[in-house]
Symmetry: C2
Subunit: 513 residues, 2 copies
């Protein structure tokens, strides 16, 4: 979902999202030598950082949260101007960012993430004795993080990727997002203050600025980088995947990319509350100018009673939907292009548009409709239009709806709007939905991603590069760990958390102990 | 570690490992259409299979084990002739294979592998209520398995990849190994009898034979295949990785490939028991004609007291080491080539050779030595020679030994032979060892991989394609699963194991419950 503003040679300016004009002091971009130095510092810090007691690591995460709060209003003001997002949203996002850091501090203290396992020796076993085997997860190594434009705090410099990688014990180098250099630099400075305050090795956090192709590419190719976290466009994510796979030693890329988040409007729900659904749908669609990874970009319904009421209410709500400043001029241009392509598509009907805005980067919401037949015939209709645009696919019957689902690409979310009378049909559809998406919702809207233990913000390709993972919630830490087994190690050599009597949760002979 | 015997067009013959001559009835190889049909059947079976109660899935795994035992001696005899491995070893391997299936049956019954998590709704939370979130892991889909030549039972048709994928709920299609078509077909038939006996959908298991390039490539490229398990050569594994990454929807490849398994001979251990170490080392090196993934192919020692005693004892033991039939004529030829390259290398000294054998495919053990300087200057000295060949690297001091370790590629195992007086040095080396290998051993030998909960048979590239995983032990099941989060689903729609009151282990609000 990210589009980079091309920087002037050697510097990067903040761009006012509302006007497209540069403002404030310029930021120096980094060279390949700077990237090399950051990687060397991260590699040098790794053994020290990962071997600190868990409580020190947790306190460091807490301190980062405190330092971010300590920036105060200048952080909110910078983010407002650079992203065009309103104050309340950014204050909420800051709360989420800080809460996420503190949650990962708790995860570190709990120790469950270490995946400790012990299979005690069986010296008398026949025909061969069993050795003493103990397992823990260790961090992969320095992680390169590429933040997103649409959450300049929660998915950027100190966002979920950074928090989970630091929690895992990995040094982090953030490639600062070109759409919010001021916001990112304020947060990077806060992290650096926490590094000093907590007496952590300096290289545990690095921050570089510059173009994705040079600075970003150099980071991913550096042999000292062990994994990549990315939130952004499909093009950007797949480019990083290719770079990572072509290395002499390939590394994992966790890219959260592209999703249109199908919402299934079930027959009985439409009958009972079509109008209410239409109104609520538009609220979800237009929230934050539609710039959420989980924005409901695809509606599926079987033609029938209640669909007209849904559309009437959606039309009315769209008419009231004000235009909102989009994140960057580039994102605004891409949105307009995507909407225009749908508007002029021979098989697509324009149902409603939102209000046109005054600002040069204001996004005008859009709702389109097409038939299942047309959708199935043209893969382009299934591509993400990042912003407040959605496409209703009218299906003749359940079988056609299932075919549309089956042909759809991998998704972050899939939602069912259902009433009790829809249960049998929902039960038939669920197996398809859970294979297609990382999160399945009933009677809600996909926007709004809880930072929790049971959250999955991930899903089959192309919603992410690796559907076995999540980038939100405590399971995000698993991405930056790998297991190591220790066989017959003397006590003095064993990691402390695997020594006899250590208090952390573990499996002993496969059973929780 | 596998080399395929090129099949005659349309058929494949068993080859007697000892003579290189074909024997027995020919096996028809499969066409691209057959692969397509197997994938279609696997895809059709997937939803049925994965939704069976866990007890049915467990009973199916148990039944496969019973059916394999039911083949009786003809299985052992086929494997002996096709692999050249002796009876006792193959009977042990059969026990391991059957035990592994039964262990995974227990893993399925325990339910820990589902990774269940529940974050109950918090309807009163301010400023926003928290939804009800429940998470489980679901199987990825049909898995293609490529077995190894060196374990015709435990790493082949019903080996660890097949057992763990079936346990995860994935249908499996095995590409039968060309070096043991008879053994593989007997096992495949046993699995098919279990499918019928347990009333499982037929497509839950498929078996195809043919060349890696056509049949194997078609399998990996098929859009219905969701993951690949492979044990074999680095060339074969990296070729599958490339195919999988080039698909419109990339899929994970779990390839266990190439490892030389460094063994560190620490100064005090050498002083105290150099001769005993030399004898024990040769026993580990020559076991099974050295055809183990974890064979000790690299010895590291600092020059000093005890190293001569180690070498004298190793020389004596090598002189007593009989030549053993290797798995295939191709593997035998590749071994000889690798050994000859070392023997004629200007910087490499031949320490000892084992006995020369009478058979045309007998491997003659080999021990070489070189300096750290030479090893660091020539990457080829760090490549695997599959078979009973090992290279001692003489280091001037600890710093040089550390450099050799740091330059070594990723490994399945790393071993320290140490005495109490070596503890401080071992503590300094451990961080390096655990970043380089999936399993770290003290005072043992890496051959012998326990099937256990705390085992890791994996490691950084190129020992495997994905160092975050293991192919042996109960954690192997994680490779074929991905998490799905369910938000606010009505009870009737929730998977049974996530409903209130379900008895399986889970995390509630992040705490074991």
């Amino acid at each position: 979902m990210a589009t980079l503003t091309a920087p002037a040679a050697g510097e990067l300016r903040s761009i006012d999202a509302a006007t497209g004009e540069p403002f404030g002091e310029p930021f120096a971009t980094n060279s390949a030598d700077d990237v090399d130095a950051a990687c060397a510092a991260a590699a040098a810090a790794f053994d020290d950082y990962r071997s600190r007691p868990l409580e020190e690591r947790a306190a460091f995460l807490d301190r980062i949260a405190d330092e971010i709060m300590g920036i105060g209003d200048p952080l909110i003001e910078a983010a407002m101007r650079e992203s065009g997002l309103p104050r309340a949203r950014l204050e909420g996002e800051r709360g989420r960012t800080v809460g996420q850091l503190k949650l990962f501090a708790q995860v570190v203290r709990d120790g469950h993430f270490l995946g400790l396992r012990v299979d005690p020796a069986l010296p008398e076993r026949q025909p061969l004795p069993r050795p003493d085997l103990r397992l823990r997860k260790v961090p992969l190594g320095p992680v390169a993080v590429f933040g997103a434009s649409n959450f300049p705090l929660a998915f950027s410099t100190a966002g979920g990727d950074t928090a989970s990688a630091l929690a895992a014990g990995c040094p982090v180098i953030v490639k600062g997002h070109g759409a919010h250099p001021k916001t990112g630099s304020l947060v990077a400075d806060a992290i650096k203050r926490a590094v000093t305050a907590c007496n952590m090795p300096e290289g545990v956090f690095g921050h570089v600025l510059g173009s994705g192709n040079t600075v970003g590419g150099a980071l991913v190719k550096d042999p000292r980088i062990a994994a990549v976290g990315f939130t952004g466009s499909r093009g950007g994510g797949t480019a990083l995947m290719k770079l990572a796979q072509a290395r002499p030693v390939p590394i994992p890329v966790y890219a959260e990319m592209s999703s249109i988040n199908p919402v299934l409007l079930m027959p009985e729900a439409l009958k009972a509350r079509g109008a209410a659904l239409g109104t609520a749908f538009v609220a979800s669609l237009t929230m934050g100018a539609g710039q959420f990874c989980t924005n409901p970009g695809l509606l599926l319904a079987v033609e029938g009673e209640g669909l007209d009421a849904f559309l009437d209410a959606a039309r009315a709500a769209m008419g009231d939907a004000p235009a909102s400043t989009m994140l960057t001029p580039g994102i605004h241009a891409a949105y307009n292009e995507g909407v225009e392509e749908l508007a002029k598509h021979a098989k697509v009907e324009t149902i409603a548009r939102g209000q046109a805005g005054q600002g040069v980067t204001c996004g005008q919401a859009a709702l389109f409709a097409t038939t299942a037949e047309a959708f199935l015939a043209d893969a382009a209709l299934g591509h993400e239009v990042f912003g407040a645009s959605s496409l209703l696919v009218r299906c003749r019957d359940e079988a056609e709806l299932v075919r549309v689902l089956q042909e759809a690409e991998g998704q972050l979310t899939a939602t069912i709007q259902m009433d009790a009378g829809d249960t049998a049909m929902a039960q038939r559809l669920l197996p398809e939905l859970e294979l297609k998406a990382g999160r399945v919702l009933a009677n809600g809207w996909p926007t709004g991603v809880e930072v929790a233990h049971a959250m999955v913000h991930g899903g089959p390709f192309p919603s992410t590069s690796d559907g076995r993972t999540t980038s939100v919630g405590t399971m995000a830490i698993d991405r930056y760990l790998r297991p190591v087994s220790y066989q017959n190690l003397p006590e003095e050599l064993l990691p402390v958390e695997l020594r006899d009597g250590a208090a952390l949760p573990k499996l002993v002979d496969g059973k929780p102990a």
